[in-house]
């Protein structure tokens, strides 16, 4: 194992200068034979960014990482989906209900992942998928909320995402969502921390370029939760946001914070038109 890793490392070093430059690859992403929309025209609201094509992070990864996502059985993130199916059918809380008591099978949530975060008019709040899951747990089931970015929540998000796999992301940014979009956009372009880096510095100005050994993507979140080989586990959107801001030598925002909810609305909307891929596999 160690030897293999070393060899791969050496091979990469030798081939790096010529092979790697030049952005996203031209491969086609299909999962279990179903073709995903992994590159498409940028939504109209991105005209001011200068980006005309939005690209899934899958196109920036190496071939062996890409291959793991093309077959459900090779995708290590699917283990969590299986665990979440058990949780889905488990009765919890004072109301003695499970997810299945109201929603029947998880397939009834097809299309849900594609439109979150979503404004909840009744509650008068913007809800991420994690917030909606917890609202169901506390209000409908009388059960305890999951930790926002804990393993149970991330697995449940993966299960719900799989039901929308292939569907285009379609997060609303008008009406009551507009103020979240604007706030998220402001955060996206703010240069945080001692390194003074914004999301845009890497993911808008420099996607396709290498920063040391990291191939910068557009920072799309259509594949979340994502199985990161580096973490050997599923990583949730806010968790990834936190890691990125930390790496600018900044004080991060908390998962589930108003700042990250707004940032998620904004970043998700930059992927409007790309297929829901979660759980994806990344390096």
């Amino acid at each position: 194992m160690k030897y293999k890793a070393m060899t791969a490392f050496a091979a990469l070093a030798i081939s790096a200068p010529m092979l790697f430059a030049g952005g996203a690859d031209d491969d086609t992403l299909s999962i279990d034979g179903e073709v995903m929309i992994s590159k498409t025209a940028a939504p109209a609201h991105m005209a001011e960014t200068g980006i005309d094509t939005i690209i899934s992070g899958w196109h920036f990864r190496e071939d062996d990482t890409q291959a793991m996502q093309t077959d459900t059985f090779d995708n290590p993130g699917m283990i969590a989906v299986d665990q979440a199916i058990d949780a889905w059918n488990t009765v919890e809380g004072t109301a003695e209900k499970s997810c299945a008591s109201c929603h029947e099978g998880p397939e009834s949530l097809a299309g849900v992942r594609a439109v979150y975060p979503k404004w909840n008019a009744e509650a008068g709040e913007m809800r991420t998928l994690a917030m909606q899951v917890n609202n169901c747990r506390t209000e409908q089931m009388g059960a305890e909320a999951y930790k926002y970015d804990g393993a149970q929540m991330t697995a449940m998000e993966a299960l719900i995402s799989v039901q929308s796999r292939g569907m285009p992301v379609n997060v609303a940014i008008d009406g009551p969502a507009a103020e979240y979009y604007e706030k998220g956009k402001e955060i996206y372009y703010t240069r945080y921390g001692q390194l003074e880096l914004s999301c845009a510095n890497c993911h808008e100005q420099n996607y396709g370029n290498y920063i040391r050994a990291d191939h910068l993507s557009q920072g799309q979140i259509n594949g979340f939760p994502t199985y990161r080989l580096k973490n050997a586990g599923l990583v949730q959107t806010h968790n990834r946001f936190r890691g990125c801001i930390r790496d600018t030598r900044a004080e991060t925002f908390a998962v589930g914070s108003p700042e990250f909810i707004a940032l998620e609305v904004y970043v998700a909307s930059r992927g409007n038109g790309l297929s829901v891929e979660g759980p994806s596999v990344r390096q």
Partner: protein, 159 residues
């Protein structure tokens, strides 16, 4: 208590004896972003500069810039221009200014400032993700490390 006092005195004395570095807040940039005076007052060590440029915890310059002379270090980035031959068209003063705070030369540059300790948005305590007070921040590189990097860059002449 006494010991601490003595140690502090020794440190202050030693620093003063070796050099008198210009603190980040006192650096004088000219209209084009260059810095005329050495930050440390001590000549740069090019060999150490090369180490700083490849060290991930220090300058990590190769994260963004390809440098043929540093090809022993793996994975050079593509975010900034190559630094090969940079001494042919940049002076020590210009290079010092760019390494210390590139935004004074190139407005809006992505490049972090390596000799700056104030004016940040939500500065953190290193890479912990926790907040830091501005008065506790240290520059990413010391005055001498900036001089060492500049000394190395001045060796990068075209073939």
């Amino acid at each position: 208590m006494k010991l601490t006092g003595i140690s502090a005195a020794v440190v202050i004395f030693a620093t003063a004896a070796i050099a008198n570095p210009i603190t980040p807040g006192k650096v004088q940039f000219d209209d084009y972003g260059a810095i005329a005076a050495s930050l440390s007052g001590v000549e740069g060590d090019a060999a150490n500069g090369a180490k700083i440029m490849t060290n991930r915890g220090k300058g990590n310059c190769v994260a963004c810039h390809a440098v043929t002379a540093l090809s022993d270090a793996l994975f050079h980035g593509e975010v900034g221009p190559t630094l090969d031959g940079i001494a042919d068209y940049r002076s020590a003063e210009e290079l010092r200014g760019i390494v210390a705070n590139a935004k004074m030369t190139f407005e809006g540059s992505v490049m972090p400032a390596f000799y700056k300790t104030s004016g940040f948005i939500r500065p953190g305590d290193g890479y912990t993700g926790k907040g830091a007070k501005e008065e506790n921040l240290t520059p990413i590189l010391t005055a001498q490390e900036i001089e060492d990097v500049v000394a190395f860059l001045l060796t990068l002449k075209g073939s």
